[in-house]
């Protein structure tokens, strides 16, 4: 596909892969019913870590990207510690505030974070075996592979015992605790895993753009992330992917109405929350169930 498309389309596709990793990692955190509002900041931690390491220490980009993920994971674990005693509303407002604290550190501290203007001249990935990874098409394949690997790992986590424990916590925390699931430990674990993949997504982004801007990681982006996940639905693994596909398509088509765009997104968010709280995936599941039921009825008649 990328060989025939215009360069712009390839760039959009790269962003699209990064957003899928981000949305899916957010869904992993929300399976414990912890709707953090600092996930975009952790994505930024990955971007800053990887960008700074590559720029100032000359560490190869391939090493920087996983380090960005690990760093985001550590920061995520640190952030969730004071929040473990809160649930629901207190949790998401406090996580928003703590994320904002990290973001303000980036804005405030000029060395090494670059202050309000962020960092520029982040190195692109080098040429390996004759393939120049700073060009869009090789980077496209690199992101595609990274996305598939991340999705596979997150799928395995989701289907494992750990993933079941996360869901048990979201359904009934007390009951989960009574069968020996340590709720604080698993909430921290969910945050650590989710933040790791968010950090990877951020690191992939920074080596494509070549710059970091702290304004990208504010609450507006966070609300967009929530919109993707809500529109897609969080019940199954595929919901966030559907959400990113649909919303990114709308995002691209509303480019002529740049200033009105938040309004469209706001309306979509309200409509989904009020009329279709399970997201698109729940509508698809319902449609399939109805289709099967109808076929069953037809089969009985025959």
């Amino acid at each position: 596909m990328p060989f025939f498309a215009r360069e712009y389309v390839v760039e959009v596709a790269i962003l699209f892969f990064i957003y899928i990793i981000l949305a899916q990692s957010y869904r992993l955190v929300t399976t414990t019913h912890d709707w953090t509002l600092c996930h975009v900041v952790l994505y930024g931690v990955g971007a800053y870590t990887s960008g700074l390491l590559a720029k100032y220490f000359g560490i190869p980009v391939w090493v920087c990207i996983p380090i960005g993920g690990v760093m985001a994971s550590l920061v995520g674990v640190g952030v969730i510690q004071p929040l473990l005693r809160t649930v629901g509303f207190g949790f998401f407002i406090a996580s928003y505030a703590l994320g904002e604290l990290i973001r303000l550190v980036w804005v405030k501290v000029h060395t090494p974070f670059g202050g309000p203007r962020g960092i520029i001249d982040v190195p692109y990935p080098p040429v390996v075996a004759g393939v120049d990874f700073s060009k869009p098409i090789p980077y496209y394949f690199m992101c595609l592979v990274a996305m598939l690997v991340c999705l596979y790992l997150m799928y395995r986590v989701d289907k494992s015992r750990i993933g079941d424990a996360f869901k048990a916590i979201s359904i009934h925390p007390l009951l989960a605790e009574s069968i020996g699931i340590s709720v604080p430990k698993y909430r921290t674990l969910a945050m650590a895993i989710g933040a790791f993949f968010a950090g990877i997504a951020g690191a992939l982004l920074v080596h494509r753009l070549g710059a970091v801007d702290p304004r990208v990681f504010d609450i507006i982006t966070m609300v967009y992330l929530v919109i993707w996940v809500v529109v897609g639905g969080t019940g199954t693994f595929w919901g966030p992917i559907i959400g990113v596909c649909v919303m990114q398509a709308i995002f691209e088509f509303t480019r002529p109405f740049l200033e009105m765009r938040p309004m469209f997104f706001g309306i979509i968010l309200i409509v989904f929350l009020v009329f279709l709280p399970g997201g698109i995936e729940s509508a698809i599941a319902k449609a399939i169930a109805r289709f099967r039921a109808r076929r069953g009825v037809v089969a009985e008649k025959v």
Binding site: P82, R85, T86, F89, G90, A94, A97, K108, E259, P277
Partner: protein
């Protein structure tokens, strides 16, 4: 910091606390009654400021009439939001919160499209004269909010303790099911809470429009401190919100004067994290959140 600056800063801190108080008390009241967090509350504040801008600065309506209109308009928005968003999503805090995030986007775009983006809107001050206390010059227009905040919130607390309807409000906050068994209509009470909450935000926005630059981002600047105040004060506790907003108003203003606004924001968030670790239910909250 000399005495003159200290007095001036203290006066500004008093005004900032009162503004924060009017916003946070409305937020806390709505949360207590409905268990719903209203992210668009900052935009309610902004809508109040825009109403005064449109009527007083552009339309030439007398200042106090414009303030009254701001209270009415934002109260109306509050009632509409209760009916359209909070009633269908009742029982799901997250959905209500996210839907009001969407609403905040809509209000911001509306104001930006109608009155223009990015430009600072100048609202002329109705009372120009500064007055002096011990050599410090204090802006009279900025101090206007203090008597209104004391009267509004004092009135609200009195209403909630002494009046039948106010007691019904508290009953619903304590236990909605038991309250409805006593013949209290939950829908009426939640509408009342959102109306009061909107009216307070509109009043604060209208009074502060002469101080702040009126821009579509105005709501954004006030919502995070207001939420932090609600958490630290204790969710749904009006008295807790009052105490916490005084603490935060003074901390924020003094740290801003000594260092800068970004450091002030950091200090506030750090204090919140500390309170959450030691007392997750907030200063005056009864149950853990």
């Amino acid at each position: 910091m000399d005495l003159q600056t200290a007095i001036q800063t203290a006066a500004n801190a008093g005004a900032a606390s009162c503004m924060l108080m009017m916003i946070a008390v409305g937020l806390s009241l709505a949360f207590g009654v409905m268990q719903m967090a209203n992210y668009a509350h900052g935009e309610f504040f902004m809508a109040g400021a825009y109403t005064v801008y449109a009527l007083y600065a552009l339309g030439g309506v007398p200042f106090w009439v414009a303030i009254g209109a701001a209270v009415g308009v934002v109260c109306g928005i509050g009632l509409a939001v209760e009916r359209a968003i909070f009633r269908p999503t009742r029982g799901n805090v997250l959905a209500g919160f996210m839907a009001t995030c969407g609403l905040a986007f809509i209000i911001v775009v509306f104001c930006g499209e109608v009155w223009g983006w990015g430009l600072m809107k100048y609202v002329p001050k109705p009372y120009m004269m500064p007055f002096g206390i011990m050599g410090a010059e204090v802006d009279f227009a900025r101090m206007l909010i203090i008597p209104f905040a004391i009267a509004g919130i004092g009135g609200l607390i009195f209403f909630m303790r002494r009046f039948k309807l106010g007691q019904a409000l508290r009953a619903v906050a304590q236990d909605p099911e038991a309250a409805s068994l006593q013949g209290i209509s939950i829908n009426k009470i939640t509408a009342l809470a959102m109306g009061i909450s909107g009216a307070l935000a509109g009043l604060a926005g209208g009074l502060m429009s002469v101080i702040y630059a009126v821009t579509p981002e105005l709501g954004h600047q006030v919502i995070l401190p207001a939420f932090i105040v609600v958490i630290v004060g204790g969710m749904g506790s009006v008295e807790g919100a009052v105490i916490a907003s005084i603490i935060f108003g003074f901390t924020h203003t003094f740290v801003t004067t000594i260092f800068d606004a970004v450091v002030a924001q950091m200090v506030i968030v750090a204090v919140m994290a500390g309170v959450l670790i030691m007392r997750p239910q907030g200063l005056m909250g009864r149950v853990a959140i």
